[in-house]
Structure formats: C-alpha cells, structure tokens
Symmetry: C2
Amino acid sequence: MDATAPQSPAGLRTTPSWLLNQTASHAGRLLAEGFAAHDLRGYHYRLLAALAEDGPASQADLGRRCGIDRSDVVAAVNDLAGRGLVIRAPDPADRRRNVISLTDTGADEAHRMTDTVTRVQDDLLAPLSTAERAELTRLLTRLLDHHTRR
Amino acid sequence: MDATAPQSPAGLRTTPSWLLNQTASHAGRLLAEGFAAHDLRGYHYRLLAALAEDGPASQADLGRRCGIDRSDVVAAVNDLAGRGLVIRAPDPADRRRNVISLTDTGADEAHRMTDTVTRVQDDLLAPLSTAERAELTRLLTRLLDHHTRR
DNA sequence: AACCAACGTTGGTGATGCCAACGTAGCACG
DNA sequence: CGTGCTACGTTGGCATCACCAACGTTGGTT
C-alpha cells in the first residue's frame, strides 16, 4: 500500500511463530489498555481470576495455576493486598503457607476485570466469524496441550 | 489430570488472548533456544532476515520493516557489526543515514538462522496437519491485517 | 533564511518471565 | 529421635522485548 512503510520481510510475515508473536503482542496491548483502566496489570488479573474461580489458595498454588513464578507472585500479592483486594493470612494447618483470599472489593474488581477481558476478546476477534473463532481456539488449544504435557 | 498441578482457571484457559499469549510464549521459548545456539537473539534474527531478503537498508527502514524501535535497532546493529555480520556505512546520498549491509559471514549466519527457525516451526506445529497449519496461518494473518491497517 | 521533518544516538521505563539463594517449616527415613 | 529432603515465602538479580523523550545533525520546503 505504502512504498515508504513496507511491511516485515515475507520470510517473517508468513512464519507461524511470527504471526503468533504479533497477534499475541497485539492482544497484550489491548489487554494492557483495558487493565490500565483498573490501574492493574496482567499478573494481577490472572491472580484475581484464579481466586474468583477456584477460591483461596496458597501463593505457590496460585503461581502454579497462573503460570507465574513464586517470586513474582509475592510482588503481585503485595500490590493486591495493599489495595485491599485480597487478604494474606498464615495457614494454621501449614505454617509455611500463606492463604490468599479475595475480599469483597477484590471479588467485585475480579468481575469488572473479567468484563473488560471479554470486551477485549471481541475487539481482538472482530474480523473472524463465530465458526472461525472456535476453530482458532481449537487449534491453539491443541498446540498448547501438545507442548504442555510433554 | 493431576490434582496437585492444576491448570490455569478455566476462564483464562479458554480465552483466546490467553491461548495466544501462551502459544506465542512457547514459540518464543523454542525460538530463543534455537537462537541461543547462534548466540543471538530475536532482534538480531529479524534484522538479519530483513537484510537477507530485501538487501541493505538504513537503520530507520530496518526498524520499520522489523517492527523494532529506532533506538533498539542501534543496539542490535552494534552487536551485529561487532561480530562482523553486518557493515554500517554512512550513506553518501543522505548524510543522516547509515546504510547497513550483510557481510558474507552475515549472509551465512542469516541462512543458518532461517534453517533454525524453520525447524522450530515444525516443532511448534507438530500436532497440526498441513491443512490445519494453513488454516491457523490464515486466521492469524487475518487478525493481524485487521489490527495493523487501522 | 526559517522551519519542519527525518535520522541516529543516548538514556531512560515498564512488563514479563526466569533463576539463585536464604531461612523457616513440614515430612520421611533411618 | 535426629538427619536430611522437600516445599514455602521472600529478596534480589537478570534478560528480553517494547516504548518514549530528548538531543544534535542533516535534508527538504517554503
């Protein structure tokens, strides 16, 4: 279209890993914009969503569920606790653990974040039909399954 | 499958942006491993590939073609030039510009990197049939097109 | 001549994803 | 019982990717 603003080299542009990277990075941008409205970031959302869905958990469990490193969970939980969205309490049954639970405010925020994420999905998938969205989800899920349970 | 190693919350796991992020991040890991064998990183590959495909270019052009910020191009070109993979020469026709060209060694390395990347694609797409790979590529390309030419 | 735009460069910032190390606490085995 | 292994939370660090602001230099336009 524009001779002065050429696209990526064809060898890159048609490469699946490049396409994945670019689309994911676009999705990430849209998500980050959505999260910014809540003054939160990706890590925070993942934790809130996990807590809203599966209930209280230890930090280590949360990390495993969300694919976040233990050390990064610490910082994110610090943020969330500082805003009163979660409570960190020692586990009486295992004194190594902290039990993280949603507060009422946290549960509300989790819902609002989920709404935001849902809107972003629609933005992201706008050019695809319902069938195509399902197909894309299917293909990605298959890829992920294959590479996760190795 | 394993009660002690639960997967991500369902609300995350089935979300397209999450699937994209996870698969892309897996692809990134595979790529990074491949690149590490060449002792190079993603930015380096993109630049080498662009140069190999479209010939010498200014740093600004390279940046636009590869989706890399001008300032990051500087550092990457420094690395590549330091290893003798590219040459940085002032453009006689426009003294603001540097013309970046592949050396012979650089062209060789570009080929080897391309081979590596090709192998990674096969690893990545292993669970998909040829038709499915094409479909995935088609869907991702459509998404990307829609979100780039805004 | 005056202005504005583009270029390369320097020097930041932030998000994400890792890894190593430490002290504390639970657990299993001898 | 103690000894050793493992898990936990925490601190601190690192690398990559992506972006932005500012500066001086150079080209082009008016």
